[in-house]
Assembly symmetry: C2
Homo-oligomer: 381 residues x 2
């Protein structure tokens, strides 16, 4: 249903944001009109100058469609000039002030191809990561080094066993930082070396992906150190350091390592279905805009509360056409067990990274055997 | 009420986080136990190694206190070593993964003075900003240059009138970025010059505070350009570029300009009372940790939905003792009008920045007269 009286497209290049609004139809229309002003001129309608500012800069409601009696999707377009050409300002125009109002959720972004040229997006994407790992077809296997508190030598010993067992991606748990019990540099050197040694023995192409999330002034040097130590990827938590910091790493010419995005501190965006940002937009579209090659999120049925549908929507966001931006890997984790692999294969198909952490420890005490079992389970499907 | 069976302090230096948990008492206790593991080892209890990791690294429930039948405050302590010494990892340990679980809200941080030594916090704080502006006692007057879409010359003309009228702080609207209709550099030069000219004429010490929020690789150069052009402060939206980017600006020796923090994209943290981060912790404590000298937030009764109590809690967070960290200014805005100044003075007292944007335009067409009226209103209270 389209509401009569809603403006229809103005001239010039525009991008669109679909907002999910809570309220009756009349309330939703008021909210949509408020968003048009709040996200741009931040002026009451009567003070907004006529002409170009009123006609082009103010957001424009292109459609208002009922989802049910109390929820509407408003499609609002903005002139591309409101953003210029950068990610922080895109996020600002999409949701800066309106994030502070209840009952407004960003459902999805619709960005024209010409506008997307301002963004490089993922450097590797699905195909690039498969080529990097030399795994052309099957799902990718990933685990995490943990628990926090282990010294680098013990983490490296774990990494060696995982690599021997045929895991593709061994990442730091996101809680591993630069801590007295496990300094960043020693950990990265030891774990990189352990994985390289295992690869020489097995002929596999396992990569170690250290968590380089750190104070912003040390981020690039962490990435450079990781690369020079032989790490095969970078784990970054954009909720902790900003999406644009991840974008900078992805754009950085000489670094050229795949990036896995971790959801730490992003939960508040998705914890309510009536506010924040949708799983699809946050873990799919925005992660891609910010250069992630794989997007980690908690799978349904683990120790978090995402639903199967929300997880499926993330997958959709990782692959929906977005100009020249590459599709990226969904990497569901968070309390996954080996027993659930067959069921997960059903939902995710082959283009997925299975992230199993603790669940890889409790099949038996032999970690190498557990990894081999995991790999065979996936290969035979 | 304290729950029997809850662990009591372990050895070594620890910091505390108070979480508000939704659920019955037994559910809250389960949630609290889960947080202890989720925020540290991310391992099931049975897999967590005994000894130091189990005893010190895992979080420790120090108290569980009923707020009402369905809400509990859990005080959980963490070893300072889990953080090391940086802001992103502090945010990670406080709320990284638990942000993704519903019914958990960070209520407040309790950080020992020795731990706070890792953070410089605000460079100016309340006293420093008063000295910078040469306004020792009364509330500070602030307005915003808007609407988005005006060219630099028109924004500068507005800035000149505001400065002539005796406003203390003229900030860019947070929607002003580096846009085709208003390039960052031209805007900063013209507005700085306009304010300096007005100051020469009035003898006042008005400052222009441009929005320097930008891609992370251009942030420092934006700040340097602003400083060299004569800007008197920096507007930063840490929700868009990360808290640590603001911290870096505050720490940067040669920049040395006061920082105003804008709440864009931070709304999702506070929009639910059952999840996210409290107003007190987010706009008070964390803004201070991240180096803001003033924290902007939407006042109660404007066009946003914060309550009077939530605003009062932000004020409390700006001034609560936090080691050597300076108290900072609350800067309520968001649809404020001149008519509400007396009532706001009652809540906020003199240590406040009154941020009135659109409301300063609609008293009369004479902006200078409107500003003079605003200033007299505040001075005579």
């Amino acid at each position: 249903m389209t509401i009569p009286g809603v403006h229809v497209s103005v001239s010039g290049e525009r991008f669109r944001v679909v907002y999910r609004l809570t309220g009756r139809e009349d309330e939703a229309l008021v909210k949509a009109r408020e968003i048009c002003f709040e996200q741009t001129v931040e002026f009451p309608e009567e003070l907004t100058p006529p002409g170009d500012i009123r006609e082009r800069i103010v957001g424009c409601i292109e459609a208002l469609e009922a989802q049910d009696a109390n929820h509407f999707h408003a499609v609002i377009s903005y002139a591309v000039e409101t953003v210029g050409a950068d990610l922080p300002q895109l996020l600002n125009v999409v949701f800066g002030n309106s994030s502070i109002k209840p009952g407004i959720r960003v459902e999805r972004l619709e960005l024209p191809d010409t506008f997307l040229r301002h963004f490089n997006g993922p450097r590797f994407g699905r195909e690039g990561l498969r080529a990097w790992l030399k795994v052309p077809l099957r799902p990718l296997l990933c685990t995490a080094l943990k628990p926090m508190g282990l010294p680098p030598a013990e983490l490296a010993a774990l990494a060696y066993q995982f690599a021997r067992g045929g895991i593709d991606i061994i990442k730091d748990d996101h809680g591993l930082a630069d801590q007295p019990f496990s300094g960043f540099r020693e950990r990265v050197e030891r774990c990189s070396e352990a994985v390289a040694r295992a690869n020489r023995e097995t002929g596999f192409n396992c990569i170690y992906v250290p968590n380089i999330t750190a104070p912003i002034d040390g981020l690039i040097s962490n990435a450079q150190f990781a690369k020079s130590s032989g790490a095969g990827g970078l784990l970054v938590a954009p909720g902790l350091i900003g999406f644009d910091a991840m974008r900078q790493l992805a754009d950085g010419g000489r670094l050229a390592l795949p990036i896995m995005s971790h959801p730490a501190l992003q939960g508040s965006f998705v914890v309510s279905s009536e506010s924040g940002i949708s799983h699809y937009a946050l873990f799919g579209q925005i992660a891609r805009l910010a250069g992630a090659d794989a997007t980690i999120y908690p799978n349904y049925g683990g120790r978090f509360s995402f639903s199967r549908e929300e997880c499926a929507s993330i997958v959709a966001g990782t692959v929906v056409p977005m100009g020249h931006l590459r599709p990226i890997f969904p990497a569901p984790g968070g309390g996954m067990s080996l027993a659930r692999v067959p069921e997960m294969l059903e939902l995710y198909g082959r283009d997925v990274i299975f992230l199993i952490g603790g669940g890889l420890h409790n099949r038996s005490r032999d970690l190498v055997a557990n990894c081999i079992y995991f790999r065979e389970l996936v290969e035979k499907m």
